[in-house]
Amino acid sequence: MKKIFLSTILIGALTGSGCNKWLDVKPVAQTTKDELFQTQKGFRDALTGAYIHLKDNKAYGNSLMWGNIEYMARNWEVASSSNVPLMNLANANYTDATVRGWLDGSYEQLYKIVADANSILEKIDAKQSIFTDNNYALIKGEALILRAFAHFDALRMYGPLPGAPGTTAVLPYVKAVSSQIVEPVTFQQFVLEVIADLDAAEALLKTTDPLTKYSLTELNPPASSSLPPVLDDDFYMYRQIRFNYYSALALKARVYTWMGLTDEGNRANAAKYAQMVIDAKDRTGQPTFRLGRESDRASGDFTMSPEHIAALHIYNLNDVANGAFGETGSLMRYDLNVTDGYYYLNNLFPVSERGSDVRWLGMWAYKTTANMTNYVAYKKYIQRPNENQRVLQVPLLRLSEMYLVLTEAAKTKEEAETWYRAFAAQKGVPFTTGFSTTGWENDRKNKIIREYVREFYAEGQTFYTYKRFNVTTLPASWTYTYYSATAARYLVPKPDREINYHNN
């Protein structure tokens, strides 16, 4: 009897709480979600993980920056006709299985970034007490912008033409990490969700973001600098390569433009937020961002880093750029070496206008390899030879876009000309006579389209610009392959898997 009693005690002890703890086995090579989000460092690491996903090849490290998306805009020639999938991609033949694989991959990656942000967002409020200083606001704000940014690009790519969004559900706006299937929402609801996240981020970052106080130079000290950094905590530095306060504003300007500037509310908002970015000042009263200009180009800063509102840091950009855009790289244009050196590029950059255009000068060059001499390589991402002076970042949002938004959102010819002139003056585009007197709006539209192409070449914006204006043919033969498009080119299919899950 005594023994039974003894074992009963033992059984009781084991099945108690201690036992449940013993069964709580944690993996050694990984950490559990609950464990990670116990510390501020864990939140920071999860946020960094999201940025690493952002620079993945399937997202802004290639496909959505200078890779697939620029082929879809016909900015690159498919040099090898035996590359059938790439041909199909450029020809908007989205039924090709390999092409679908690429498109699905980018979709998957964007929503992976969303899930990264969501995991942070669903845990951060309950843990607010563990954060020191402004960490809570910064991390939460950045996570919100990440979520908005990735969703918005999913909408631009896989969503409807913004001019004819319809009222059917388009894509899911995901705000939780779970196994529950999230139903898609309509275009209108979707953009409202994007704006809501950006509003929340704006409120959090407005007074806490170091970029609202310090200058880009202060926050991006060169590696050789002997001065102490302005902030002790390295995590607060380099705000340009993180989704900072101004990136929320700039992204809003972009979203309202996408929603359509013919609507007065959108127009006013787009102009308001673009203006706020242009007006940004540091603590000494100097503008935070300035337009890129000839001196930047001449010094080898081809992506014009003083105007990056948000950029993505790619530590090996030098190798990546040489591989993709260099002599043996595959990203290139076809052209004919005629009187003025080029034929197709002459249409994009007319000879009479390009004399001091910073997007033209020294940016294009024929390849020198035998049989490749009709292909033009692009220099934007090629880095300075001096390793310490490289700008290892690719722009996600630039100040020049804010000028173009304001030009497009201007109600009068004079106002539009003022904004465009300010832009043109820095970029080296002659603009003395203003927009044409007859049908100035149409002239403005054509110039805007052309500027988006020239300015954001290899930045993944051309395709969205064409989609926004539903461009069917280009004004002149900008490219070797004549660009003609129907709406079908812009209606990029969602993964089959999503269509099946959502039955639409």
């Binding site: 023994k3 099945t15 013993w22 090579a29 990984q30 950490t31 929503y111 779970s178 898997r497």
Partner: protein, 553 residues
Amino acid sequence: MLRGGLGIMTQNNTADIFKPASHSTFAGYSSADIMRKGTYEYASGAQSSYTANLTANYFKKVAQHAITLGASIDLNEDKGQEYRFKAEGFPDESIDFLGMALQYVPSGKPEGREATTRRVGVVANANYIYDERYFADFAYRLDGASQFGLNKRFAPFWATGVGWNMHYESFMKPIQHVINRLKVRASYGVTGNQAFSAYQALATYSYIVNDHYKNWLGATQTTLGNPTLQWQKTGKYNLGAETEWLNGRIILQADIYREKTSNLLSSLELPYANGFSSYVENIGKLDQHGWEMMASVMIIRNNQKRINWSVTGNIAYNEDKIVQLSQAMKAANDKLALLTNGNSPNRIIREGASQNTIYAVRSLGIDPSTGKELFPDKNGEVTYQWNPADRIAAGIGQPKYRGNFSTLFRYGYLSANASFGYRFGGQLYNQTLIDKVENADKLMNVDARVFYDRWKQPGDKTFFRGINEVVSSYPSSRFVQDERTLTCQNINISYEMNNRPWLKYIGMKSLTVTANSGELFYVSSVRQERGLDYPFTRQVSFRYLPFFNQTST
């Protein structure tokens, strides 16, 4: 009686994979890479487990009543880990010592894995026997395992059974010289399966070690986790009989059973929008039923002359059916049913069908006039168009009947044993035909059937599509074939020598010589490639087993 036990097991293993510089892998290396030729992959792993238990037993016998009561607890931990790395640069063939490698492989990094699982169980059991004739058992256990969701770690299980030794009954006495033993039994029990991966229920993050963002390291979500993941439980009814005849010369055993598994565990696919492609979930219920029979007959039994010949065989029949699926799983399968998954059939599971059902579009064969495959669509119209929605249950990828038979013959010191396995009543999807004949790349070396057996001109009646079809073949019932297979698993001959003068002379007590063959032959109604994963090998091994006398001086 109280008893405690502790078991500890540790096992270390290492793997060495060396490829000399002349290995074909390095044939493409340029002259600049000559010093990189030759690789050595080294792995070191350790497994350990411990089990601790404490048992209390109570036994009492009063007249013809015997009762046993027991209670126990047991704890168990299994741990495994492995590290692996690779070095290169063994330009000279004669050096195969890891320490002499010139460098690690470029951008190579050490790899490894680890898993720890823990289990705890509390058991209570009772057993009652009356007069050696009637038995009754009851057992209850509460088990907890680390692989399940935080909220669902513990689950109760129980089992009960009754048995009747009929040969002890008085009415059997007159025929006991013929029927030596006859036992009938019935049981029901619920068991849990914990043979699942260690961290499946946890939401995990891992650090990204091969990339960074500016000066910062990042962490990424690896699994979604499922805090409500439950034990997979199986309830089994069993009814059986065992009997021995003619002093054990004939042994027969028969069982029929029915198994109901609930909370089936499976990986479930998610839309990309969820950020994870899959997670592990309890997805439904499975029913299985079947029977098993075993017979063993001693045809010759002469112990004096050491001549024996026995034949043993068994057959098992099994059928399974998914009886219930979760809504999520049904939805996922409805979607899956509309997908084309290349040229292998999708793994679709449906309520009311076997979990091994092969879904493929019904084929009407190859149109002799065009060389294209004909399909009946949902409305019964004949079409050339393969549509994933037209897929039907075309077969079951699991044999209904399977079994073994073997024979043992012994004459003096020579013994021979042969064993065979067989299965039939199921179907197989013949992947070889689709990959190597229909979708073969004609620019490369191909299966001869591509040339001889595919349709070439109108009027050809063939099994395979036209040779110039460029679109891929998708799963159709044409490739689902009935499987009937017989394998010779093993043949073993041995000869034992002992107490021979010449053995004594060399100090040996006995010597056994054995010849053993691996799979000797394989005949099947489905002809397909076995691939590199499980290649067919014909091997014969010989073994000498000497025993030496212990000599004392």
